[in-house]
Symmetry: C2
Subunit: 181 residues, 2 copies
Amino acid sequence: MSRDEVIVRLLKVFRQYGYEGATLARLSEATGLGKASLYHHFPKGKEEMATAVLNRINHWLESSILKVLRAAGKPEERIRAMTANVDEHYSHGQQSCLFAVLALGESHDLFHTEIKYALNIWIDTLAEVLVETGLDSERARQRAEDAILQIQGALVLARGLDDTAPFERVIKRLPEEILNA
Amino acid sequence: MSRDEVIVRLLKVFRQYGYEGATLARLSEATGLGKASLYHHFPKGKEEMATAVLNRINHWLESSILKVLRAAGKPEERIRAMTANVDEHYSHGQQSCLFAVLALGESHDLFHTEIKYALNIWIDTLAEVLVETGLDSERARQRAEDAILQIQGALVLARGLDDTAPFERVIKRLPEEILNA
DNA sequence: GTCTATACACCGATAGAC
DNA sequence: GTCTATCGGTGTATAGAC
């Protein structure tokens, strides 16, 4: 198994159980590696595993969200590409957002800087697309915040209500709403 | 100190650290009671403390949200009263939502039924107000879901961005948006 | 690079004195 | 009703064989 595949499996555990709930026993079971083997790959332990997982999400953000938003093409097309990748990343609402899980839990302090940066760059990059459509930068920023906010809220509701319908509705309408609100 | 005051202090810890992060040491410190004293008041331990805290939130939901929504008066006034109470309850975005914290953490399974019920009754009651304004029940339900979704998303963003501005913006515009969207 | 075995701290929970 | 002391279990992390 590749290192990346290991990290993907760790990610699944952190997403589902949060930082505290992602015990070494669970991480071990999910990867098929013994605890000591995990420490071979991540010498600084659980915190390094979480960092590796966060780095992978940041890579996803860069390659599947920011890159797409900065690409050539019409704003509408780029935003639609973003929402499609968001939909896939969260498995149509079935998987939680790692940022939200880590931000709301006890691990808040540990990862706060990284989470804040990631959310901000996502919002900023989306806002820049909206500026291209003629919006002033303040309104663009607010509308971009609203978009991320709705995605996060939809994921919370999906988990709390055990129903992905609100998430799918948000994803579907988001491009048009952002551009024409 | 009254039992209610104890529960309020427990609530603060659960909100801030989540179920797993709310250790007996922290709960003890926050209340000023020793661990054994906490077990005197809550014989079934931490789970009973969390249940008591959830019950208190449910009481708040009933008295400060549902009751207000069902009251006499214009729909707009009732919805404005709701958002004002929401704003206060979350300390203008500074405090997380217990439902979200518990739903996203490992404790999901333990409290899932209660959280799902609470979110649903909130949405349903808000939707009934919207039906009064002439909306069909399906659109009313969706718009009510959107309102709760935005509140939850705003709280996630407030925590992740360390900025309550999105929350305050959502609270301010929510009544008008719900009624005129 | 993986394992078994283990160290040590902290967890939730309890006993029993006052 | 509160405390100190302590229990068993589990958490993270390590040592060392293979």
